[in-house]
Amino acid sequence: MNRSNATALTQPGVPMKVRNVSKRFGAFTALDNVSLEVAAGELVCLLGPSGCGKTTLLRCIAGLERQDNGALYLGERDVSELAPQARDYGILFQSYALFPNLTVEANIAYGLAGSNRDVVRKRVGDMLELVGLTGSEKKFPGQLSGGQQQRVALARALAPAPSLLLLDEPMSALDARVREHLCTELRQLQRSLGITTLMVTHNQDEAMLMADRIAVMNNGKVEQYATPQEIYDKPATPFVAEFVGQGNWLPFQRNSASHAQVGGMSMRLADDAGRAASGRLFCRPEAISVNPVLHQENLFPARVREITFLGNRCRMSFELNHLPGHALTAEVGSQDLPRLGAPDIFVALPPGSLQVFA
């Protein structure tokens, strides 16, 4: 994609607000009092398993479903009751929904009806240049590759200069090889245009790669709304911890303000780890050090069960000697493999990496 040109097309985005939106389908609650604010020019991902309500929320914002309660704002306008045509957004569907009987040119010009012909032609040219498909004007969607089709669909969505861009699982029809590349490109384009964007995905890698902020959804509710880093490092709920990335869970009883009893071990917790008297501790696999060279806190004997080679790193499954029968995983670099020869090892669970859930 031509970035210098993309920058030239910059326009200020507008903020988008979702306030207390609910939607039921019969007995099923798809959206349960959801609120969300997206700042101007921000890219927000709705992340969650299928059936969590993320697509329903997107369709409510697009006006394709009507919410039961709540309000939607685009900039200063209350768009809650408006027809889709009156809302001013562009949308990129999973299937792209390119009209197969229209050329690339006609597809992109579809939303420009009513403008003068030269303006439309110029606009189509600009959009094709923006997505790097100049020269494909007369082709039909069926003659393009999946990635090219996606770009045409994007150009079509952006052509009428909408205030908001909605992306509905935009990458899932593409094969894994081109996916990451296109994610990056899409992100660059979005940033340079400064268009407020809401993307629905069930793929956490895509969300991590692209989003300014991620709203993790489950059972029609937003579980956590934060930056990717915060979501990963400080998951707000067990669901978020479980859904995003890998993790270990350890049942505990509180001994004191600073320590928790896990099986036969007393683990020190960080000061800000949470106040619950009992529950589960959460720890990311890569936070665990195996046979640390220097002495560390919370160092316990353990036994290796299995090591899986993953290329640049290894996944190790082990059991703490004082918590038998409870499999945990740690991630170690491949270069550390020789040090793990013996089945008996020591692992350190740094206090800062242990998070408390009631």
Partner: protein, 574 residues
């Protein structure tokens, strides 16, 4: 360049959007309401009128509860009912196995010339049901060409059975063809890997997958036969059936109540089979998964030769019958002067409607095909692709299935009763071309709509959402994208409606006036008046018109597909 990003001008947008919104509201809600009105007036009210008429005891009408009891306990009714049932069951028992073999040959074997056989097998659809009857009279009647081959003359039970068998064959065939077209090659691979022979594979894979269609075909043939009077009127002789009795009660004796009662009796098998079929369909579910691999038959000399022999035999019979009808229409004076002439085509010299009837039929068929396809396809689109007005959608969907369960004869009776109700302002329509067109559209609505729905369901479900997000009104999207993509299906609907309208007698027989007489009705009248040659000539004319239009549309469709190949081959993207 920064300024150009804000185009089209923001100030212009809200007005444009609100105009699109208003237009869409008219398009969607107005369209649905219009369809609802049409279905109510053209389907629901006439049906209700039958029940009202059948159970109201007016003098000299032969209706009411007392008359109903008298009718069903009378010996004459038992005789008629017995005859009807015997004929219909025999026809179904003959036609369904033959159609199954024929369909199997076309879908699951490697016989040559499949397209020719398929085209020939559709011949009976192109002519009114009287044509096979007329041909049988020329073949096996008292002075028939092959009279010597049978001991008795053709008039009676066997005449009706043979005529109906030919008339209903393509109807059964179409159901079975589509059932046999679906086959998952993986199942057959699995069966042969487990050592199952072809017979076992048939019993465990093919038969379970098609038995529901066999049932549906059986019901359809049964219903078509029991409600048809075109064949019995020509070759029935003294062998009377119920459908003919209803026709005579209304047209001959003006006994509307009696006609309505028999109409209700004839409605029963159709309603029964419709209900059972719907129930079976729900039990059965969808047997083809998206990952199925298309079955491709492999050559097998013995099997292919056997099936080719069967197909040839059936096609030869059809050709003999239709050839005979065409030939007899050209013969000067059967059987004394066999020289050929166009004398029978001088319709102006004979009673029965003549060229006026032919012109009316073509007009009626054109109007039915063009108006009907537009209304039905747009209606199907609105039902399929708009989610608002859920109650209205449901009502429309249910109402549009009703015509499938109502035989044309019964529908026609309903029209007679409803549009003749004292005080009905729509009475002015009675006997007009408008009413004939409305009735024909209503009669063939369900099949046409199912074709439309199938085509529409193959489109990406997000097309409409994408169009709306681009601020395009739905009606523009419908015209620019949906219609062009579905044009082949639309042509198919036009063809179906045209041919059906050209050949229909069942409902139209009650609704025409001297000015709006139709060709198929003229066939019936000429035959009734003893002018069998004229009837054969008019049938031939209908046959060639229907076949000609079908070929023309098929050719147009092929050309269209070729022209749009650039975008059809790759699409749809997902």
């Amino acid at each position: 360049m920064a300024a150009e990003m804000a185009l089209p001008l923001p100030g212009k947008m809200p007005r444009k959007a609100s105009r699109a919104e208003l237009g869409d509201r008219i398009f969607v809600v107005g369209g649905k309401l219009l369809l609802l009105l049409l279905l109510s007036v053209a389907v629901l009210m006439p049906l209700l009128a039958i029940f009202w008429r059948g159970f109201s005891a007016e003098d000299g009408q032969g209706g009411g509860w007392v008359a109903a009891r008298e009718l069903v306990t009378s010996d004459n009714f038992h005789w008629l009912l017995g005859n009807s049932l015997k004929v219909s069951l025999s026809v179904a028992a003959i036609v369904v196995p033959l159609a199954y073999l024929f369909a199997y040959a076309l879908q699951r074997t490697m016989i040559p010339g499949k397209r020719i056989w398929r085209g020939l097998s559709l011949l009976p659809l192109m002519a009114p049901s009287m044509l096979p009857g007329i041909a049988l009279v020329y073949l096996f009647g008292n002075q028939g060409m092959l009279r010597g081959l049978i001991s008795d003359n053709i008039y009676g039970f066997w005449g009706i059975v043979l005529g109906e068998a030919i008339y209903t064959f393509p109807h059964a065939l179409m159901i079975l063809l589509s059932a046999l077209s679906l086959a998952d090659a993986r199942l057959f691979d699995a069966a042969s890997s487990m050592g199952a022979g072809p017979f076992k594979a048939f019993r465990s894979i093919t038969w379970p997958g098609t038995k529901q269609a066999v049932f549906a075909a059986f019901c359809l043939v049964f219903t078509l036969t029991i409600t048809d009077f075109g064949v019995p009127v020509v070759v029935g002789g003294d062998y009377q059936v119920l459908a003919l009795e209803a026709y005579k009660a209304v047209v001959g004796q003006q006994q509307f109540g009696r006609g309505a009662l028999i109409g209700m009796v004839l409605l029963l098998p159709a309603l029964f089979s419709f209900g059972v079929d719907a129930w079976l369909r729900r039990q059965h579910g969808d047997s083809m998964s998206g990952r199925a691999q298309v079955f491709k038959p492999v050559p097998s000399k013995v099997r292919d030769r056997c099936y080719l022999a069967i197909v040839l035999l059936i096609c030869a019979t059809l050709l003999l019958v239709f050839g005979m009808a065409v030939y007899s229409s050209l013969v000067k004076f059967w059987p004394y002067n066999l020289s050929l002439s166009l004398a029978h085509y001088q319709f102006n010299d004979t009673a029965g409607g003549g060229w006026l009837a032919y012109r009316n039929s073509v007009t009626m068929a054109l109007c039915t095909a063009l108006i009907g396809s537009a209304v039905i396809f747009t209606g199907a689109y609105l039902m399929e692709k708009t989610r608002s007005q859920k109650g209205l959608n449901l009502a429309l969907r249910m109402l549009s299935f009703v015509p499938m369960a109502v035989p044309g004869l019964v529908l026609g009776l309903g029209y007679v009763f409803f549009f003749n109700l004292p005080g009905n302002p729509l009475h002015v329509l009675y006997g007009t071309m408008t009413l004939l067109v409305v009735c024909t559209i209503a009669h063939y609505l369900t099949t046409a709509q199912m074709t439309a729905t199938t085509a529409l369901r193959q489109l990406d479900g997000e097309f409409e959402a994408a169009a709306l997000s681009l601020k395009a009104p739905l009606y523009r999207h419908y015209w620019r994208v949906t219609v062009p993509i579905c044009l082949p299906a639309l042509l198919d609907i036009i063809r179906y409606l045209f041919v059906s309208a050209m050949t229909t007698v069942s409902a139209a027989i009650f609704l025409y006036s001297p000015d709006t007489i139709l060709a198929a009705v003229a066939v019936l009248n000429m035959d009734d008046a003893g002018n069998v040659g004229g009837a054969a000539a008019m049938s031939t004319l209908i046959l060639f018109t229907s076949a000609g239009v079908s070929l023309l549309l098929a050719w147009a469709s092929r050309g269209l597909l070729r022209r749009s190949q650039a975008w059809r081959q790759g699409a749809p993207a997902q």
